[in-house]
């Protein structure tokens, strides 16, 4: 029987075949939440390597894919939902239909223990407001690749204010062309131009460990 530490190491090193064969063996005896916890630990280290400049976006894409394949094996065996650390309502904003960045962020947020409500792409301000009402998330995450997205992000923040919901959530914007200027323009609380920093900032906004 392999150990969870072996799984963590193999995941950190992005050894896809080894990870999958370990999970296949582990899942027979180890409770699924323990496997997910091991994944969480591994992705923390992957995030650190990314921020230190040892890993790059291609490694994040690969790690996200490995995590997806782990989940394919583990999820069907999960009898009850693991209590999430917090909920994120996530979507690519109106006028933008790109989703690569959003999906990488989603994979790492889920690996970190967040529950992610994914609204998809081209999400109107009204749908963000409705989702905040329905799911009562701690965080709203808005993604966008195009500069046109910055205006849409501003309109979502505005709509949340109008609906009296702005103070109930933390708002983070993300995407390749998002920066501090864009954060100020939109009125969001935080910004990130990559998924790992995005997940770290989500934890920080909620006072969870970095």
């Amino acid at each position: 029987m392999p150990s969870l530490d072996e799984l963590i190491d193999a995941f950190i090193e992005l050894d896809e075949e080894r990870v999958l064969s370990l999970v296949e063996k582990l899942v027979v005896e180890v409770p699924p939440p323990d496997i997910l916890e091991a994944c969480r630990k591994a992705t923390v280290v992957i995030g650190e390597r990314f921020e230190k400049g040892e890993y790059f976006l291609s490694e994040l894409v690969y790690a996200g894919e490995i995590f997806r394949r782990i989940m394919d094996i583990v999820l069907p065996r999960l009898r009850e939902e693991v209590k999430p650390v917090a909920t994120i309502v996530l979507g690519t904003v109106e006028g933008d239909i790109h989703d690569i960045g959003k999906n990488i962020f989603k994979a790492f947020a889920e690996a970190a223990g967040f529950k992610v409500i994914d609204l998809g792409v081209d999400t109107s301000p009204e749908r963000f407001v409705e989702a905040v009402r329905n799911y009562n998330p701690e965080i709203v995450g808005m993604s966008g690749l195009l500069t046109i997205a910055i205006e849409s992000m501003r309109r979502v923040v505005e709509a949340l204010k109008q609906a009296g919901l702005r103070d109930r959530v933390k708002i983070i914007i993300g995407g390749g062309r998002v920066d501090e200027y864009a954060r100020r323009y939109t009125g969001a609380d935080e910004w990130a131009d990559n998924a790992m920093v995005g997940v770290r900032k989500c934890k920080q906004m909620l006072g969870l460990e970095g």
């Binding site: 896809e16 790059f56 291609s58 894409v61």
Partner: protein
């Protein structure tokens, strides 16, 4: 000062300014280049009109150029269409005319790569390139054996609804429609260059090339698919990249007889890759393309999307004066430290700053940037190809132009 000059004189003066910078010299002042895919032009026309009505696009571009006189304005109200160029790489009369994919061309073939205002998107939106996965990993061999046939026979029927049945009446009619649109688009490009020249703005004589791994990511395997292939099937990917070099060179040279001097090469996966993967899978074939074009008298204008910081040193592999490194998020100051005297650097302006800051702050930003970037020449000030947003206050764009006039003189 410039008010007394005729449009012809202004075109000449501005073109010289840009060419001197590209030749790593000090012009009379730092040139300012603005590139737009249409967002900022929505100040004058709806998104739908910009992409489907060439006259409106011309009119909007000329209005922008009159209101904001920059040293050159690049207008690309069309999507990535390099896959179509590559399909016709053996036909230099056709390949370059469909390199940029316009709204009516999308109507002709109903491709799945792009989404358009007034079609799949709301009318006052901007066009979006989405790409897709149109090739299986098992097909790398066919791609490598004969890229042009593979694109024509396998990829286009999968990626274009109207070409689903090659040889059918519908497919043939669609190709004729594409040809008609291509010649209308070429006329539009000509009209646009003439129109801009009438208000004193030169257009760069461009041709086009592409990084082979980006070609695989954008048109065949989707960017994330290409990145996973690099891990899982490294040899197949390398072989395919090699096979794409020659057709891409053919496209790059196709406009040389018409006077093209610069090959525009927008990069996408560069910032995704570690130095190891970049130097193994991305750079060797891109480098070969840039060098082969350079040997034929064509310099390259490479847009290094996103952060290119970790790969900056590799640019030194190219011959001195090879062309222009156009940066998006890479700090141009840092780039200058490495590339000064070797490569013309372009960039420096975050579009989000133009959207959010005040005119005074923008001027101060440009002053401080130019203090470092101006000495020695070889620098062109520009926002990235990511567009200046429509909502950007006009006085902010004016502040940018005034600042370069004020602080950019040599």
């Amino acid at each position: 000062m410039s008010r007394s000059r005729s449009p012809e004189e202004l075109v000449k003066e501005r073109m010289e300014r840009i060419e001197k910078a590209i030749d790593l010299k000090e012009p009379d002042r730092v040139p300012l280049f603005i590139f737009t895919c249409g967002d900022v032009l929505r100040k004058y026309a709806k998104g739908y009109e910009l992409y489907f009505n060439y006259d409106k696009t011309c009119e909007a571009s000329i209005r922008f150029a009159s209101e904001f006189p920059v040293d050159s304005l690049g207008v690309v109200t069309a999507a990535e269409g390099f896959v179509f160029s590559l399909a016709f790489a053996d036909y230099p009369d056709i390949a370059p005319s469909i390199r940029f994919w316009s709204g009516p061309m999308h109507d002709a073939l109903l491709d799945r790569y792009t989404r358009w205002p007034g079609r799949e998107l709301p009318e006052d939106s901007i066009l979006q390139f989405i790409g897709g996965q149109f090739m299986n990993v098992e097909e790398y061999g066919r791609l490598s054996d004969d890229p042009i046939s593979f694109i024509n026979e396998v990829i286009l029927p999968r990626s274009c609804l109207n070409l689903e049945k090659p040889g059918s009446a519908k497919a043939n009619a669609s190709l004729i429609r594409l040809g008609v649109e291509a010649s209308r688009f070429l006329k539009f490009l000509g009209d646009l260059a003439v129109g801009l020249a009438k208000v004193g703005i030169p257009s760069l004589p461009l041709t086009f090339a592409y990084a082979p791994l980006d070609f695989i990511g954008d048109f065949l395997r989707y960017p994330t698919g290409a990145l996973l292939d690099v891990r899982r099937y490294p040899d197949r990917v390398k072989q395919a990249c090699e096979a794409l070099v020659n057709p891409i060179i053919k496209i790059g040279l196709s406009l040389k007889p018409a006077g093209a001097k610069y090959a525009f090469i927008p990069l996408h996966l560069n910032e995704y890759l570690s130095p190891k993967l970049y130097s193994e899978f991305y750079w060797p074939t891109l480098r070969k393309i840039i060098e082969m074009l350079y040997d034929q008298g064509i310099k390259s204008l490479v847009f290094f999307e996103g952060w290119h910081d970790i790969h900056l040193e590799t640019i030194l592999d190219l011959p001195r004066g090879w062309g222009v490194a156009y940066f998006e998020k890479t700090d141009v100051r840092k780039a200058k430290k490495i590339l000064e005297g070797h490569t013309c650097i372009m960039g420096g302006i975050p579009p989000s700053m133009l959207l959010q800051e005040t005119p005074d702050k923008i001027k101060e930003y440009v002053r401080s940037l130019l203090e470092e970037m101006k000495p020695g020449g070889g620098f062109i000030l520009a926002p990235g190809v990511a567009d200046i947003p429509k909502e950007t206050p006009s006085e902010n764009i004016k502040a940018l132009i005034e600042a370069v006039e004020e602080y950019g003189r040599y």
